[in-house]
């Protein structure tokens, strides 16, 4: 039984694309067949984060419009053969996505893969609503700050009204992924705490990703962080989140990189 997951947030720059790539790679590492789909038509980034930007020939729009077959547009990852990418078009815009075309592509992907992870664009317009439309599960990516939390709240409202599941009278399964979390700054009151965010959004937490240089470095190298250095704190947090998505119960912790004595002594000044 395949599952369609939408990674969404409302606000831009909170880590949707990074999280899509990291969760997709972590799921694929467990042997599941995974495809990550970029819905950000016109501003595609997932190909860069996946390190596949030079291998894009056909894209989602070509498949939606019938110019290419799905198999021609899918890009198999070179590191993990269970991981594939369906890139977005950079030259078109989101008006080229049609509800019927996206439904058809989703139907075909469901036959081929166990997990279909859709990277939603920011905003609440066409691209974002079509990305969430056919999903079974939503991962709401939120930073611990007020504007991101309010935008996520808006998106949760849309997930409960504008999706196929909602229109059939059901409720979509929703999970909160808190990214760029810095426990020191949250303690000092510079950031919202985990409990504050959970209290406002009232959906279950699937993971806390610590703020880390590793994430940026992995993105620039074109490697999902879960593949670049599986032992670093954000990679472990994403792997745990992926296992929770598969239904496992893992105790929630705020992962931190282990620091030496000097790190402990000077950690606060560096932050």
């Amino acid at each position: 039984m395949s599952k369609v997951v939408v990674v969404t947030s409302g606000k831009g720059g909170v880590g949707k694309t990074t999280s899509t790539a990291a969760l997709g790679a972590a799921l694929a590492q467990t042997g599941q067949n995974v495809v990550v789909v970029d819905f950000d038509v016109g501003l595609r980034n997932l190909d860069l984060v996946m390190g596949a930007e030079r291998r894009v020939v056909y894209d989602l729009i070509n498949v939606v419009q019938g110019d290419a077959k799905l198999a021609q547009a899918l890009i198999r990852d070179k590191r993990l053969e269970t991981l594939s990418l369906l890139p977005a078009s950079q030259t078109r815009d989101k008006d080229n996505l049609t509800a019927e075309g996206v439904a058809k592509v989703m139907g075909e992907l469901r036959k081929k893969f166990d997990w279909i992870i859709c990277d939603s664009p920011a905003g609440i317009e066409r691209g974002a609503t079509l990305a969430m439309r056919h999903a079974d599960v939503a991962v709401v990516v939120t930073n611990p700050e007020v504007s991101s939390v309010r935008d996520s709240d808006r998106i949760i409202g849309l997930l409960d009204s504008k999706t196929e599941i909602a229109e059939r009278g059901g409720t979509m399964e929703k999970h909160l992924l808190l990214t760029r979390y810095d426990p020191n700054r949250a303690d000092r009151g510079d950031m919202l705490k985990v409990d504050d965010v959970l209290e406002i959004l009232s959906i279950p937490l699937i993971g806390i990703i610590p703020e880390s240089m590793e994430v940026l470095r992995a993105s620039n190298l074109g490697t999902p962080v879960t593949l670049s250095d599986a032992s670093c704190a954000p990679a472990k947090a994403y792997s745990d989140a992926a296992r929770r998505l598969m239904g496992e119960t893992i105790p929630m912790a705020v992962p931190t990189d282990r620091k030496g004595l000097f790190g402990k002594l000077f950690g606060r000044r560096a932050a």
């Binding site: 309010r150 709240d153 808006r154 406002i200």
Partner: protein, 258 residues
């Protein structure tokens, strides 16, 4: 501790609902306008003095076509107060404003004009229907079927940012929280069993006895019967507390619940 949240110059913002007739034109317009002319012939003055909204949802229209349609309707003395279901690009200066959020309110049946001989035969004072038929400016009888509605609305989920709950018929109870950027407008009282972070307007149809209750007050705006208070005007001691808000004359009062 009863805090008077008195405002020096209260401005009342009240809601009021009117029943508008919705015209849904169909393509081609020439056929539809012919049908409209036929209706107008059978029921003289039906459109006079009534609020009329044009519903163009689902029509593939150019701006010129819409302007042309509005002119055709104006030539028939049908004045459009608003347009529903139009893309923003279709509307511009000089066009009726966009309307949204309408709720269906049953069918309106135009009263048929009585046959002229019949109307002439009866003395005008004896039959009200004949009076209506004789003077086109008076409004013909309409029959509206409004479904009976419950006087309270229960919402079991949190009200999310951007959502708007409008319930002029009575009380609204929310079991979850009301998020920042969400709003609730109720004809009666409003009860929030979670945190109230959005905007709530109780007694919106002119009910000064309506109250607002919440478990945790962090509201952006509170209003009862059109008198409102912004977050900055509220007593900071009430923030985060379970609070009850009511109206005492022209002053909004608030107190903690425990």
């Amino acid at each position: 501790m009863t805090e008077s949240l008195k405002s020096p110059t209260p401005i009342r913002l009240r809601g009021r609902s009117f029943l508008a007739i919705v015209l849904s034109p169909e393509l081609p317009f020439s056929n539809w306008l012919a049908g409209l002319d036929d209706l107008a012939r059978r029921s003289t003055g039906f459109f006079l003095g009534r609020p009329i909204v044009l519903d163009v949802a689902g029509l593939d229209l150019s701006r010129e076509a819409l302007e042309g349609l509005i002119e055709e309707l104006q030539a028939r003395n049908v004045r459009i107060m608003g347009i529903e279901g139009a893309r923003a690009s279709l509307l511009g200066p000089g066009m009726p404003p966009e309307m949204r959020g309408g709720r269906p309110a049953g069918d309106i049946e135009p009263a048929e004009d009585q046959a002229p001989t019949e109307a002439a035969a009866k003395p005008p004072a004896a039959a009200p229907a004949a009076v209506a038929a004789a003077s086109p400016a008076s409004v013909p009888q309409v029959t509206t079927v409004v479904p009976p509605s419950p006087a309270s609305l229960l919402i079991e989920t949190p009200v999310r940012s951007g959502q708007s709950i409008v319930f002029p018929e009575g009380d609204v109870t929310v079991l979850g929280s009301v998020a920042s950027g969400a709003e609730i407008i109720a004809g009666g009282s409003i009860h929030i069993y979670g945190a109230l972070r959005g905007r709530v307007m109780a007694g919106s149809v002119g009910n000064p006895d309506a109250r607002i209750f919440c478990r945790k007050l962090e509201a952006e705006l509170l209003a009862i019967d059109g008198l409102y208070k912004m977050a900055d005007d509220m007593d900071p001691q009430l923030r985060g507390q379970p609070v009850q808000v009511w109206l005492d004359g022209d002053a909004i009062k608030a107190t903690t619940l425990n």
